[in-house]
Symmetry: C2
Subunit: 330 residues, 2 copies
């Protein structure tokens, strides 16, 4: 059943933006889109931390990088004893957990370390067991995400005009493609998503590439298009979820949720549910370097003496969510 669905769904490059080729992980460099599609080579933990910190990959791409980095370390350290390999995997765990604050790296890495600890204590073949588990895990996620694409597609009704923010890692664009192939006319507004412009660079490009109708607007025009009744649904992704349903997503999502409530527009979020943290108050919010705000395409926007404040994410309380479209990653 799943395999059949998979065959039918046209895939967006952002759906699975990192692929293992031998001992190299090819990571789609999202900072180069839409100019070109290039891939950064990741061969070890240090490379992985670098692509994450530089935001060459983001959102679901980070998840793929984390899992595949363990596969790389398992493959690459053939001369190490299982004991030394286990210690190495734990160093990988620490490095990845410390790469960026808001994405729940620890929730993913802890699963792999649990497998490794278990295999080691049971004196199993550490490399084989953990690799097989990680591969199986990735495969499961893939099928569950494809399943969610179908659920998102079912949300998209003929005549809908959907506002989205930042980027939903392929799933929204693939759902749009399904809706279109089933002759439902759906329009999308993609916000620019300053400062990183994921909406302009990734989402608009991706939706268009998948054959959807998309119009780019400035983040400032959200209230205006809602007030003009040009939007009837909001669909966004999430970077982190809490036990109570609160979630964190790219900065700006919170104010969209408040505006959607004001205009009684249904607000949908694609989440990876987790009960590791209770409420949104407990989510650490990454404050990124203000230079990323003060420069654009390496050109200085403002004079050097001005301060910038760049929280990378904000938290959306559960009461602003109409429906959560969940995937279970654990």
């Amino acid at each position: 059943m799943m395999a059949k669905q998979e065959l039918k769904i046209k895939e967006s490059p952002l759906f699975w933006p990192a692929k293992l080729r031998g001992s190299t992980l090819k990571v789609l460099d999202e900072t180069m889109i839409p100019s070109k599609m290039t891939y950064v080579d990741v061969k070890n933990t240090a490379d992985a931390v670098k692509v994450i910190r530089q935001m060459r990959t983001r959102a679901f791409g980070q998840f793929l990088v984390v899992l595949n980095t363990f596969l790389l370390e398992l493959k690459g350290n053939k001369s190490l004893s299982d004991k030394a390999l286990l210690a190495k995997l734990k160093r990988t765990e620490q490095s990845l957990n410390n790469s960026r604050p808001t994405f729940p790296f620890a929730e993913v890495t802890s699963i792999i370390i649990r497998w490794a600890d278990e295999a080691y204590s049971k004196q199993q073949d550490l490399r084989k067991v953990v690799s097989r588990n990680v591969e199986g895990y990735l495969n499961g996620i893939r099928h569950r995400r494809l399943d969610r694409v179908n659920r998102v597609a079912a949300l998209l009704q003929d005549g809908d005009s959907v506002l989205t923010h930042c980027n939903v890692s392929g799933e929204l664009a693939m759902a749009a493609h399904i809706a279109q192939s089933q002759n439902r006319d759906v329009h999308f507004f993609a916000t620019e998503t300053r400062p990183y412009m994921q909406g302009a660079k990734l989402t608009a490009w991706e939706l268009k590439r998948m054959g959807a109708k998309v119009t780019l607007i400035a983040d400032n025009a959200i209230g205006s298009v809602m007030n003009d009744e040009l939007v009837n649904k909001v669909i966004v992704g999430s970077d982190r979820s809490c036990a109570n349903g609160d979630f964190a997503n790219k900065i700006g999502t919170y104010q969209i949720a408040v505006l959607a409530k004001e205009f009684e527009i249904p607000f949908y979020v694609l989440t990876q549910p987790s009960d590791k943290i209770k409420t949104g108050d407990d989510i650490p919010i990454e404050i990124r370097n203000a230079n990323e705000l003060l420069t654009y395409y390496k050109k200085k926007i403002v004079t050097g003496v001005v301060n910038g404040f760049y929280p990378g994410f904000d938290v959306i309380p559960n009461e602003l969510i109409t429906e959560t479209i969940a995937i279970n990653v654990n």
Copy 2:
């Protein structure tokens, strides 16, 4: 009394961004700030329409360009009979009224044409009478704006953190300077104000230049800083006002007003009251060329096939306004 105040207030270049020097109007090129302060020469109506359309000047600068363009035409057409000059002034009126849709050009130009018609019908010296009236009018506006700077300064209390959007043409920065010189510690958040970046390029630069504490944020971070209780006042300008108190301002102002209401943060607006149009529904909203959204510093942001939608302004209904700080321009 007024003259005394004028001596005391330190002036920002954006307060009076167009100055007449002989037969040339020197218009501050706001598109070049903060890189450099350069002036564009305007010698006639065609030049004036060009600087307005290209947004080299904006907001109050447009008002100065309009009035001074009539002075230029009055000075420059010495060989014309009064009848021919009156016809020429009416062509200037039409050209300026058609330059951009949202700013109330007609409300300003109609005053001057009324003076010209009156002088002509009374067989007065058209050039002399109209020039004198325009100059007197400009002088009156200058004093009333300086008076408003003092009223805005009185709003700024010790410990305030004020969010502003787009640019308030010098007045807010000058008020900040007054507050500072009276030892009141006031902090400002300037939004970037995409797509044109007036907040990043003009407001942050101007506030800093006047000695104020200013932090730049992305337009997406407004809800976040309000939710974190980092802002206790919002102060914005306006491009057009209605009889019922609704006003139009730079795109994004509307959603700030909605968010301010949600967080019970007082929302102040500097307006030029007018009863020429009844409500915000009657304000024509300029839809600017989407290329201004799809490119940045002449670099293409998204691939060519994506559509953009760029309303230049939005309308804020009177019920979202805490207090209107008015100047009478008529």
